[in-house]
């Protein structure tokens, strides 16, 4: 009887430790997965759209931005948001594998709107953009 009482807490301890180790390993696997699953170009695109949105929100009159982002990722406007997305446009990007969720959008201030001057989208790969504010509308164009 005494033996049984002595064994029981020991078994429970082992069980608790095992569960803790398993939970820890699952958490570790999750951390590893989330770290590796976001490719550099997605993180670059995320940062670029964040910076563009922040520039748009703070723009007084005119502004320019140099975009040194990944190839085949384009900047465009979507309702009240500014977005970057991977697109198979042009010869060089035709064979690029773009995933469906390869789009990152950031909403801008409600009183502002965004439009593009000459083209609907601008590639963020080594391009410079000009931003101009006209009556609450931000016009984005490619600096030539």
């Amino acid at each position: 009887m005494n033996n049984k009482k002595g064994i029981l807490p020991e078994e429970v301890m082992k069980l608790i430790i095992s569960v803790l180790v398993i939970v820890g390993l699952v958490y570790l696997a999750y951390l590893m997965y989330s770290f590796l699953r976001t490719p550099t170009e997605v993180r670059q695109a995320q940062e670029i759209v964040k910076q563009v949105a922040s520039r748009i929100n703070a723009l007084e009159n005119k502004g320019s931005m140099k975009l040194a982002g990944p190839k085949c990722w384009f900047l465009y406007a979507k309702e009240n948001q500014v977005c970057v997305g991977c697109k198979n446009i042009g010869d060089e990007c035709e064979r690029k594998i773009c995933k469906q969720d390869d789009e990152r959008c950031i909403p801008i201030k409600k009183e502002l709107s965004v439009s593009f001057k000459n083209e609907n989208q601008i590639e963020v790969y080594f391009n410079e953009i000009l931003l101009e504010k006209q009556n609450g509308n931000i016009i984005i164009s490619k600096k030539l």
Binding site: L28, S54, E60, G63, P70, N127
Partner: protein, 369 residues
């Protein structure tokens, strides 16, 4: 029996403790990498180590490990309060740097302090990205088998430095008088026994630490000096000449790496795969049978020979294109003895932060802007 049981329990307990300790270390390491607990630069350095690990063990770049390197932004200003780094005040255009919370203002009193800041950034960049000793970027599997001639260099923009021309001018500081090259040649890295130039030119801090510049072999000394006006250190000098051309210049400190496969590597890889196919269980039998049957038919032999010759010629051509690309990317920063037989190079460039200039040297950017 009882002893056995106790032995087993102790063994299990030790295993659990070891597992927990190992798990703790891994958890600490990953948490530090994925969150901003460490400074951005330390996080970058750790991700560089993590990426380089597979290449050290398997001769394969761990390009699946993303680099966690954020571009640092500095605004060089002067005066008591300092100013902002606007792109072009006359046109009323705000530059990239304005209203960004990640811009660090650096106040300077003279040209030498500007040179010091740039030299420090070059040093940090080179050190952070593995001093050119680590293979960080892969050209892909096609390149390893000589099946592509599309080679690009990869870059990490370590820092961007903009200048607040107005306050600098008020203080009497002339950007065109900043001589980074001279500073790097004459000044030692803080806390070290070697100059910035020695450190970068040698590519081996240990080697430099034990040698003073005077003890450098004449050949190395000559090589460093011959770099003036070109390449790694030359770019810094070039900056001195380019800086006054724009109202408010901005420079980038960029780590660049390029590697193309050599003939022998392509041959070894190809033979490895072909040989492997014959050894693999199942596949091997089919391959051997195919060869046996095919070798009996003369026309197939001829076709196979012609095909083999064509593939080999294509591989040789692609390797040559890789060599050509290597010359294009590396010729100005190659220092004798450090270039991997002219098939690759690593270097830090101090260049104007201009999209055309960047595009010229970098096929892909791997840093977070």
């Amino acid at each position: 029996m009882l002893n056995n049981k106790k032995g087993l329990e102790t063994k299990m307990l030790i295993t659990i403790i070891l597992l927990l300790i190992g798990f703790g270390f891994l958890l600490l390491f990953l948490t530090r990498i994925s969150h901003s607990e460490l400074s951005e630069r330390e996080a970058c350095k750790e991700s560089v180590t993590l990426r380089a690990l597979p290449s050290a063990i398997l001769k394969e770049t761990g390009s699946f490990v993303p680099l966690n390197c954020k571009t640092q932004k500095f605004c060089i200003t002067a005066g008591f309060l300092g100013g902002d780094c606007k792109e072009d005040e006359k046109k009323g255009i705000d530059g990239n740097f304005e209203k960004s919370d990640r811009v660090v203002k650096v106040k300077v009193d003279n040209e030498k302090e500007i040179a010091k800041k740039i030299a420090e950034e070059v040093f940090i960049c080179w050190d952070m990205l593995g001093q050119g000793r680590l293979s960080l970027f892969s050209q892909g599997w096609k390149a390893r088998f000589g099946l592509t001639s599309d080679f690009v260099s990869s870059c990490v923009v370590c820092s961007r430095i903009a200048f607040d021309s107005k306050t600098l001018k008020d203080k009497g500081i002339q950007i065109d008088k900043v001589n980074v090259y001279d500073y790097m040649m004459k000044h030692k890295v803080p806390g070290k026994e070697f100059t910035y130039a020695e450190y970068i030119a040698s590519g081996s801090p240990a080697g430099v630490a034990v040698k003073s510049f005077s003890e450098f072999s004449e050949k190395t000394k000559e090589t460093i000096e011959s770099q003036a006006g070109r390449g790694l250190l030359g770019e810094a000098q070039q900056f001195r000449q380019q800086a006054p051309s724009t109202e408010n210049p901005e420079i980038a400190i960029v780590f660049m790496q390029f590697s193309a496969p050599k003939y022998q590597d392509v041959l070894i890889n190809t033979l490895g795969v072909v040989g492997g196919a014959f050894v693999l269980p199942g596949v091997g039998k089919v391959a051997i049978w195919t060869v046996k049957v095919a070798s009996k038919i003369p026309i197939i032999n001829y076709i196979a020979l012609i095909g083999l010759a064509a593939v080999s010629a294509k591989q040789a051509y692609n390797v040559y294109k890789g060599y050509e690309a290597s010359v294009g990317y590396c010729s100005d920063i190659s220092i004798e003895g450090r270039v991997d037989d002219n098939y690759g190079c690593s270097g830090v460039r101090v260049m104007p932060y201009d999209m055309d200039a960047l595009k010229q040297f970098c096929g892909a950017i791997e840093s977070i802007p």
